[in-house]
């Protein structure tokens, strides 16, 4: 019943995507409850109100960014800031090519590149707490965990391989805040992706390693049913800032 209502919005978003960055919507203040905690970590992290882009940044939007900032073009980027696969799916420095759609979310981008884009767009990357808070909202209520349909929908995606051809950014069903594709399209960089501590940690939090990698682990986690959150935690902790990955993109945030 709601589907026909938002088709025009998708069309508008896609047209807009070619020209300008995705619009932002407000996400009200809330509480993020981390899945994994060390003995001294807070159970609840208050998150102030912020704004988040409705959809991940697209190839078309990123193309404008590299045109305006040539040092982020594929042949010019410094190896320190992006590995050798940076934007490898594009045909050239400022050319997407036939196999790459302007409306698809940009992938093969490093954390540094994502951060630079966000700053260029007048924003920043969302923190992990902000991202998780926004992504925890269901389709119809602020707490998606209370919405079985939402829980099933995201579990389906996290159990499905990334399709060879990515759908357009912004085509997913909007969540309670009006945000799309937080689940179901690509993984996304966060500002503090490297706050996930798995090994070699300072003060005996290495129990996190057990929590993450063994079946027994779920016993120590906040909510053993939140399997997608396990996956995101594990994925983030495996990243390095210069890495680029075929199904890892980003969206940007701004203060209210």
């Amino acid at each position: 019943m709601r589907i026909p209502a938002f088709i025009p919005a998708v069309a508008v978003a896609l047209v807009a995507a070619a020209a300008a960055a995705s619009p932002l919507v407000p996400v009200p203040a809330g509480i993020y409850r981390p899945l994994f905690r060390g003995g001294n970590d807070a159970k609840e992290i208050p998150v102030a109100a912020f704004r988040l882009a409705i959809a991940p940044v697209t190839n078309g939007e990123f193309l404008e960014f590299v045109r305006a900032n040539p040092h982020w073009q594929r042949s010019r980027v410094k190896r320190l800031f992006a590995d050798e696969n940076y934007l490898k799916h594009w045909a050239g420095d400022t050319e997407l090519g036939p196999g790459c759609d302007a409306a698809q979310p940009v992938t093969w981008v490093s954390w540094f590149a994502a951060k630079a884009y966000a700053a260029w767009a007048g924003g920043r990357l969302p923190t992990t707490a902000e991202w998780e808070l926004a992504a925890g909202a269901g389709f119809t209520q602020a707490d998606g965990a209370k919405e079985p349909e939402f829980v099933r929908a995201i579990a389906r995606w996290y159990g499905t391989p990334t399709p060879a051809v990515l759908p357009a950014a912004g085509s997913g069903r909007p969540n309670f805040h009006g945000l799309r594709d937080l689940h179901g399209l690509v993984w996304e960089w966060t500002a503090d992706f490297n706050s996930a501590i798995v090994t070699g940690d300072a003060r005996g939090d290495t129990g996190l390693e057990r929590q993450l990698f063994c079946g027994a682990g779920s016993a120590g986690a906040r909510d053993a049913s939140d399997y997608p959150a396990f996956m995101r935690f594990g994925f983030r902790s495996s990243l390095k800032a210069a890495y680029t990955v075929h199904n890892l993109g980003f969206r940007y945030a701004k203060d209210p």
């Binding site: 320190l80 951060k115 706050s195 798995v198 070699g200 940690d201 300072a202 003060r203």
Partner: protein, 208 residues
């Protein structure tokens, strides 16, 4: 403890007021700057500005010219950081004569809130760090970025302490990562061997 800190702060104040000629803060030392361009893997490309325990504002590129042994820490750390610093000191002690005075040691704080210039300065005194050591503090974003470049994960806990990976990194004279040691209390041998493999640093200029 408190009187000690206060006296150190007072001491720092005196230093600022009347610079002692022989006290040459490491970050302000002029390294021999090679002519060649930095490679695109050099950390010294970073534009971020840092403040040393001597109050100097510097970019990391100021450290160019000799290898650096780098650790990240915070001064109120009770467990891991003192060990990291001890490990770095044991690397300094284990340096062969040919490398003495030709390797720098860099500590960068996670704690942008509490590790002020004064706190860093007091830490240098408390740990009796030699003049080869540079202690830096920076903006939160810049600390997160440097940590990302060094492959160090960290987060602040409810008590304001930081959980963090324990990594000691060797940068060559041009700021490229050439060796990393992870974990605590590793023998200094491997790190020293990594330093010995680097090309000899140019002779240090005499103090201007």
């Amino acid at each position: 403890m408190k009187p000690l800190v206060i006296s150190l702060l007072a001491f720092a104040g005196v230093l600022h007021a009347e610079p002692v000629p022989q006290e040459k803060p490491p970050c302000c030392r002029e390294e021999a700057k090679p002519d060649h361009l930095l490679s695109d893997k050099s950390l010294y490309q970073l534009e971020s500005t840092w403040t040393s325990d001597a109050g100097c504002e510097v970019k990391l590129g100021v450290l160019r010219g000799r290898p650096q042994v780098v650790g990240m820490f915070f001064t109120t750390c009770e467990y891991a950081c003192p060990i990291i610093v001890e490990n770095m000191k044991s690397i300094e002690r284990a340096l062969p004569g040919s490398l003495r005075g030709k390797v720098g040691f860099l500590l960068v704080s996670f704690d942008v809130g509490r590790d002020t210039v004064e706190a860093l300065h007091a830490y240098r005194a408390k740990k009796t760090l030699s003049d080869e050591w540079t202690l830096l503090r920076g903006r939160e974003d810049d600390v997160r970025e440097l940590a990302a470049l060094l492959g160090i994960n960290y987060r602040k806990d409810a008590r304001g302490q930081f959980s963090h990976s324990n990594v000691i990194t060797v940068l060559d004279a041009d700021g490229e990562v050439v060796f990393q040691q992870t974990g605590l209390n590793k023998d200094a041998t491997e790190t020293v061997a990594a330093l010995e493999k680097l090309p000899a640093a140019p002779p240090q200029p005499s103090a201007p």
